[in-house]
Point group: C2
Chain length 124, copies 2
């Protein structure tokens, strides 16, 4: 089973390259921390499999923050770890701006049912 993590960034939030990278990293770490405790304990093997296979992370895009919330809502109906990253707003963005959503680590098959239609960030 192939395990990966996806992070989805809305194109209508304007961030510098460095800012976006930090936000995506927040999402990646947040989900990993969620996986090692609490309600995702049963999925801990996924973290091991993910780490062993190079911790694949894929950054996808959606046009707007509304689209992002639709994807999140879809994911929250399934047994997969999710997080919503909001910016403190100290630098480029308004406080509380949603910058990205992280989903997984999870099986590629499950992730494809949630984000299979989305493009790689920057490809559209």
């Amino acid at each position: 089973m192939s395990v990966k993590q996806v992070i989805i960034v809305p194109k209508d939030v304007k961030m510098s390259k460095g800012k976006m990278a930090a936000q995506v990293a927040h999402a990646s770490v947040t989900n990993m921390l969620k996986m090692v405790g609490g309600r995702y304990m049963a999925q801990r093997d996924l973290v091991t499999d993910w780490a062993a296979s190079g911790m694949t992370k894929v950054v996808l895009e959606v046009p707007t923050t509304i689209d992002l919330m639709k994807v999140l809502h879809n994911a929250q109906g399934k047994d997969v770890v999710t997080c919503v990253i909001r910016d403190a707003g100290n630098t480029e963005l308004e406080p509380g701006t949603t910058t990205c959503v992280g989903i997984g680590p999870a099986s590629e098959e499950l992730l494809d049912t949630i984000t299979g239609e989305l493009k790689l960030y920057g490809e559209s």
Copy 2:
């Protein structure tokens, strides 16, 4: 004590915004995994402090990969967690290309002695 993590990206490696974000996320997660086991066990409180204070991540730049190796060498002489991220080369880059270096979580004071002179990514 303020705890943060820095990720340093060389400007001479040309990556898309999504690619760079994924690489920075690799560095962030890799260092956190290193902190929870092995030689950095004594520094585990840093992870707790870092998580409690919002897991601050700062993305910095250096002009070239050579500069990146100098910063890494400096960091490796101190008691701080580091990682070097290399790309598998399946998409935009040559296999094995070094894409970034992660340092910390660590105290801001210690990090400033290593990366205090570097600019935020994209600011130069």
